[in-house]
């Protein structure tokens, strides 16, 4: 363990994998070691890209093609998965890496499947700390993949510099595929599978989303024209360079305007308050607010108003 920090710092991928295993562990001694390790790593800044897309949009193919383009351009790429559903299914988004075998075998890349056991809150902290470990290991780009179960996109967006939503071409009534709220957080909407017979449909889908994006109010974190809808063919590695250029345009603007650093600071503060809130709640509840569920049941049936029920618990906890 003592030699882990220098090895991770040197970019050793096996050491990084061990570090992340430590970060993911629920054991108290492991958590202490992980904290020590993270503190010992150099503060480096990778570009953190969040990527969401439902099964079937070609997410693995996209990560493989996009990742290979980046490593071939001399950039070191780490891929992490955030998958709150895995707590239930025991599954892993990135699976056995065979879905992106070229990238997985590339010396400039690091792919980490999602942990199989964890709850959502824990997932967020562990993923954030795995990102920091990848940054300490000198990766230039950290891709955080999510299938978008529950609140996972919002969570990923809160730990990324850039959030990409990947879609498949769809027509007419099929267009309801986008989860509500996601237009709010996407910086780029990329319509994949713009190849072969689907090309025309991809063009229409892309235009539809470009139109929808224009209906939304401009966000302070965006230069003119963003968020944008683009199309690519991950299969034919077509459109990936332009997509990467758009990302760089956006990121350079955010760096120049100070939005980047302000956002990182805000994200840090957000997660600090969030961890604190969760920690306090868990400990206070454990200290004997066992009547919370009974009171909630009364609120649900309308017998008690929410504020009055909260007052009952608060009076007990803080006499």
């Amino acid at each position: 363990m003592t030699d882990l920090a220098p090895k991770v710092t040197a970019g050793n991928r096996r050491a990084l994998a061990r570090a992340i295993t430590l970060i993911e562990s629920g054991r108290a001694d492991h958590r202490a070691q992980a904290a020590e390790l993270l503190a010992a790593l150099p503060k480096r800044e990778a570009l953190r890209i969040g990527l969401s897309g439902t099964p079937g949009v070609g997410k693995s193919t996209f990560i493989e093609s996009f990742g290979l383009m980046l490593v071939e351009a001399g950039l070191r790429v780490a891929v992490l998965a955030i998958d709150p559903s895995s707590a239930r299914t025991g599954g892993s988004i990135l699976g056995d890496k065979t879905r992106m075998d070229q990238l997985a075998r590339h010396p400039m890349a690091f792919i980490r499947p999602s942990p199989s056991q964890s709850h959502l809150g824990g997932v967020a902290r562990r993923t954030r700390e795995a990102v920091v470990a990848c940054e300490g290991a000198g990766f230039d780009i950290v891709l955080i993949e999510t299938v978008g179960v529950g609140q996972s996109e919002t969570m990923v967006a809160e730990m990324c510099d850039l959030f990409v939503l990947l879609l498949a071409p769809a027509g007419g009534d099929e267009l309801q595929g986008v989860k509500r709220g996601i237009m709010e957080i996407a910086d780029l909407i990329i319509v994949n599978k713009a190849d072969g017979e689907l090309r025309a449909q991809a063009t229409r889908t892309c235009a539809d989303y470009a139109g929808a994006l224009r209906l939304l109010r401009k966000r302070p974190q965006d230069p003119d024209g963003f968020p944008k809808a683009l199309m690519v063919s991950a299969l034919e590695a077509d459109g990936l360079e332009p997509a990467w250029l758009e990302m760089q345009t956006l990121l350079e603007w955010r760096r120049d305007t100070g939005v980047w650093s302000a956002r990182r600071a805000e994200q840090g503060a957000f997660w600090f308050r969030e961890e604190l809130r969760r920690g306090i709640e868990a400990r206070v509840m454990a200290q004997g607010a066992s009547d919370v569920d009974a009171l909630e049941a009364q609120v649900r049936t309308g017998k008690l108003l929410p504020g009055a029920a909260a007052d009952v618990v608060l009076a007990k906890l803080f006499p």
Copy 2:
């Protein structure tokens, strides 16, 4: 004070106004009296409609026309305003009621301007309890108006059975007027000012939003075809009946399918947990977590990871 509950129950509007003043008060004895009063009122269920729209969309005119239509149909209508900005500006959305003087003078209507002093969290609880007071007073419909500052729409949506977004006609590049996230919570988008020279533009705006709504995934709380975009002219009282019919269609479906009652139960549970969380946080923080700000500053500059900073506070609070 002792005769307030029966008077409110009898539908006395002056008594209701006094009850809400009590609910809005920050004084501990008033809060206790308010809790007692609310517990003494009969449990009645009004239709709670949230209404959001930025200044200039004709919200007052809409409330006046729509409200008059309802009272003329024999329904008792209460209008409340939720305005988190008023804490800063001291202003009130509903102003001096002169903006909707016909409705204000109608014996079947009750209009309550927003309180001039309060913070967002407090506003939510006070508004919810004012809604319950209006229900206890036998009103059939409670309209909750917001200008949509900060998170106020989300807050209003969490206390309503139906959420309406009011828009003005807009063309081309002006279409960015919709705050992100609001498409997620709107049940009906109503384009106002569909009259005179703006009629054609209103038609296009309505079609644009109808198209955008189709891009979003169907929500479990909606029957086919909802959320919908409609247009009205509040000025000419045109299209209000059809809008009201759409609302009734939606609400009947939600009642029949059990979505209505499930939603009310969820909302109650949400606010209970929310009040509890806020109450715990405030009390714990007051008990001596004065280093929270200093730690947050270190997190913001990247000196400390959010989780590690939270652990420091938690270790102090729960040794």
